[in-house]
Structure formats: C-alpha cells, structure tokens
C-alpha cells in the first residue's frame, strides 16, 4: 500500500486556500472578458471591467480577490490503496486551514455558537470537509473557499413530484430572482436534483467545481442547464445587480435518483469570486 503522510495534506490545504483566494481561475477571467464585450448595460460593462482589474490586481499584489475569504470547503478523495500515516486526516485538514488562513493573511470568518455568542474560532477552522474513498493510490485535495453573501442566498426545497420539471426550474429561477443583487452577480448556479435531503445539497455544492463553459454530458440535463441560464439572464439583474443581461456565469446541474415520494431541488449560489484549486498527491 502506498503511504501518504497527512502532513502533506496539511501543506496542500494551506497552499490551495491562499492560491484560491488570490488567483481567479482562467475560466472565470475568460468569461468576464467575453461578457464585458457583449453586456448591453454600460454600467454592467464597467462592473465587469472592474472585476477583470480586480483579478489582475489580486494576482499581482497577492491580495485576496474578495475580503470574504469564506469558510474553507475542502474535498478530499482518498484512493483506497492509500494508507494515510502521521495522524488524523481531519486534524490535518484543519491544520492546513489554520495555516493557510493565518500565514496567508486571509480573513477568519468562522464563528462558534452560531445562534448565540458567535465567537470567532480564530483560525477559520473547522473545515467543511467532504471525503470520498475512490479507486487508486492517489489523494486528491480540493479547496473551495465559500463566501457568506452567496451562500446565504442558496436554498433547498423538497418539492412534490407532481410539480415536475417545470416546478424544479421555477424554483431555481425564483431563488436567483429573489437573491437579486445580494450574492454578487454574475453568479454560478449549482443545482442538485434528487437524492436525499443532504445529497441534493452536496450535488449542488460539488457542481460548483466544474469548469465554466462545461455542460452536463447528459443531453437532458445540458438542456435544463441552458434553459435555466436563459431564464436567469432574462431577469435583468445584471453585473452587481445594477441591471444587465449578464446575471449568471454558468448553470451546473447534477442529478441522482430520488425517493418515490420526493423531488429535492437544491440551489447553491456561487458569487463571481468562484474560487477552487486542487492538487493530486
């Protein structure tokens, strides 16, 4: 069995967190460039140009793109032929979050006792950790810092099966409509269909890791993504919510079979600071 020291995971999480917060993905930058040309609103074009300038400045000055450097959402995919040594995986991931957020001058945005004292945990732990055991002998680490503004506009509904496809699409578009300017549009809309309550939310979250411009390989879901995107852009919300035709960057739909009685629809909204970085150990 291949041995991997969890200390490597700590270092990977720390480096990925800083990199994700300071360097916007090429896919999102390319989207801004394209959108800045085709946006019909002058103010909207100006906002998109500001976002391009912001991304360039963040990269050059190693300053975070956004002051909300988020809760640290971490996905770890462990190959089943890997033996993790040197300590607990969960502790190692948290140590990486603490290291990255402290040494990288990122904002610590985690508070304990959320309905009470809301005291800052001091080092942005705990990580919002999702682990999977997968075939192979590698360890994949993905860090996706998630800001509060867009997360707050996310929603999950246990719809009635009779509401069907139309009901699901309406719920997604309605969620984006109600969010309006709050989640920092243009946004990525992650949609989880079916599964159980928690799996729907997980699918929506996980879909946000897809590359901007990608479509679901299932033509049925690709068509759904396209329809939701067109309907959202027709809302007129636009860049920063000041009006325009660029409300969404992309829509990603993922699906699982559901219970005979259920039709869960989860919508996870991602602001334009769509941050995620990964490494394979």
């Amino acid at each position: 069995m291949r041995e991997v020291d969890v200390a490597r995971i700590t270092n990977a999480v720390a480096e990925l967190a800083v990199d994700a917060c300071n360097v916007l993905g090429d896919d999102v930058v390319a989207f801004f460039e394209k959108a800045a040309e085709r946006e019909e609103s002058e103010t909207g074009r100006d906002i998109l140009r500001q976002l391009l300038e912001n991304a360039a400045l963040a990269r050059e000055t190693a300053r975070p793109l956004c002051q909300d450097t988020g809760l640290a959402v971490v996905f770890v995919e462990v190959g089943q032929e890997v033996h993790l040594v040197g300590g607990s995986l969960e502790d190692a991931v948290d140590a990486g979050v603490a290291k990255g957020y402290t040494e990288g001058y990122l904002r610590k945005s985690a508070v304990a006792d959320p309905i009470g004292t809301r005291k800052n945990t001091g080092d942005n732990t705990p990580a919002m950790l999702h682990t999977r055991i997968v075939p192979g002998d590698k360890v994949k680490v993905i860090v996706a810092p998630k800001g509060g503004g867009a997360e707050n506009m996310s929603a999950l509904a246990m719809l009635k099966p009779s509401q069907g496809r139309q009901g699901a699409v309406d719920f997604v578009v309605d969620t984006v409509s109600k969010a309006g300017p709050n989640p920092c549009p243009p946004i990525i809309v992650g949609v989880g269909l079916g599964g159980s309550f928690e799996k729907a939310a997980y699918l929506a979250k996980h879909s946000l890791l897809r590359e901007v411009g990608s479509t679901n390989p299932d033509p049925r879901l690709a068509e759904l993504e396209d329809e939701i995107e067109r309907r959202c852009n027709a809302l007129g919300i636009g860049p920063a919510g000041l009006g325009g035709i660029t409300t969404v960057i992309d829509v990603f739909v993922e699906e699982l079979p559901a219970h005979i009685a259920s039709m869960p629809v989860a919508v996870n909204i991602q602001c334009h600071s769509a941050r995620h970085k990964e490494v394979v150990l």
């Binding site: 450097t69 904002r107 809301r118 509060g148 309006g180 709050n182 920092c184 000041l242």
Partner: protein, 186 residues
C-alpha cells in the same frame, strides 16, 4: 469625470444625489458590519454615547482581510447590507448620512433614508483588491476585539460608489433590473 464628495455630508449634498449617480468619495469614512452594529444599537437603546460621532458620516459595511506587513489594509470590498437593516434606521435617526454596501435594503431602511435625508451607496461586491487601493489609511477606533468586524476609520481617495437608494425613493436595483428584464422563449 465622476463627481467627488467628502464627508461630513450636508443635507444640500444629499438632496443633489439621485439613484444611478456615480461618485467618488474622498475623506474619512467608518467601517462597521454585523457585530459592530449590534453593539452600537445596544448603546443607542440604553441611551449611552457611541464611540464615534455619526453626524453627517458614512459607514462602510466591510470586514477586511488582515493587512500584510507594509500594507494599509487587506482586501476590502462591501458585504451584504441587508443584515444591517435591523440596525440602520436607528443610526440614521442619529445623523448618519450614508452607508456603503451591496445588495437590497428593506422598506424600513428606504423610508428612513427619506425621513432623515440620507443615501445608500453601492460599491462593487467582490472587488476587494481593487477597492483596497483607494484606502490610504486605516486605524481601529472601536471594538478592537471584534477583529475584522472592529470599527475602523478609513481615509479614502477616489473611492468609487454608485447611489442605489436616494432620499426621494429612487432605487437603482429596481430601475436597472426593469430596464433589462425580458421575456424568454423556452
């Protein structure tokens, strides 16, 4: 060239502002977000003095990232303003003239803007690195224990904002959206 305004803001300046106006702010503004607002309003409710004089001032809803050595401030873009809706009217009643944030305000705040002659400005959400360049000095003036949520006095130069809600009921979010809303063929 966008117009420049400098706090403290007078009624005359507020009366001249309309939703959609793009402005630059130069001068002193104060930061405050959830926790600081909660404390300020607790003092107001107890009838105790506030740690800062709000007369004519602007509060910027921001919780910056920590500055690196040699930096004035870290990344410093606006946070979602709606969370301050429960507190803002009480501060506006005390003479606060402007707020900078992003996102929708509720009716109570919009009414309070009319009643108190005040405005709500938007700064570009997620442009934290860009906006930080326009901040030339920062010092904590209250609630240091709140870390990123402490109240800071910021010196800003050409800080870009747009008027979202003016004192006449104008609302750029509603107007902008209406202009670009369209029917979609499915």
């Amino acid at each position: 060239m966008d117009r420049t305004i400098t706090p403290p803001l007078t009624d005359e300046v507020i009366e001249s502002l309309r939703a959609g106006d793009r402005l630059l702010i130069t001068g002193i503004i104060y930061t405050g977000r959830d926790a600081a607002h909660k404390r300020l309003v607790e003092l107001v409710d107890k009838g105790e003095p506030l740690p800062i004089d709000l007369q004519g001032q602007i509060i910027y809803f921001v919780g910056p990232t920590p500055p690196k050595p040699g930096e004035v401030i870290g990344s410093a873009g606006p946070t979602t303003s709606g969370r301050m809706d429960a507190y803002s009217p009480k501060l506006l009643d005390l003479g606060l003239k402007g707020m900078i944030g992003k996102g929708l305000r509720n009716e109570a705040v919009r009414e309070s803007l009319k009643r108190n002659k005040a405005v709500y400005f938007g700064a570009t959400g997620g442009a934290g690195a860009l906006l930080a360049q326009r901040i030339t000095a920062a010092r904590v003036v209250a609630y240091d224990d709140l870390g990123p949520e402490a109240i800071r006095e910021l010196t800003v130069e050409d800080f870009p904002v747009v008027v979202i809600n003016d004192m006449y009921g104008g609302d750029l979010y509603a107007e902008g959206r209406k202009e670009f809303q369209r029917e979609v063929e499915i």
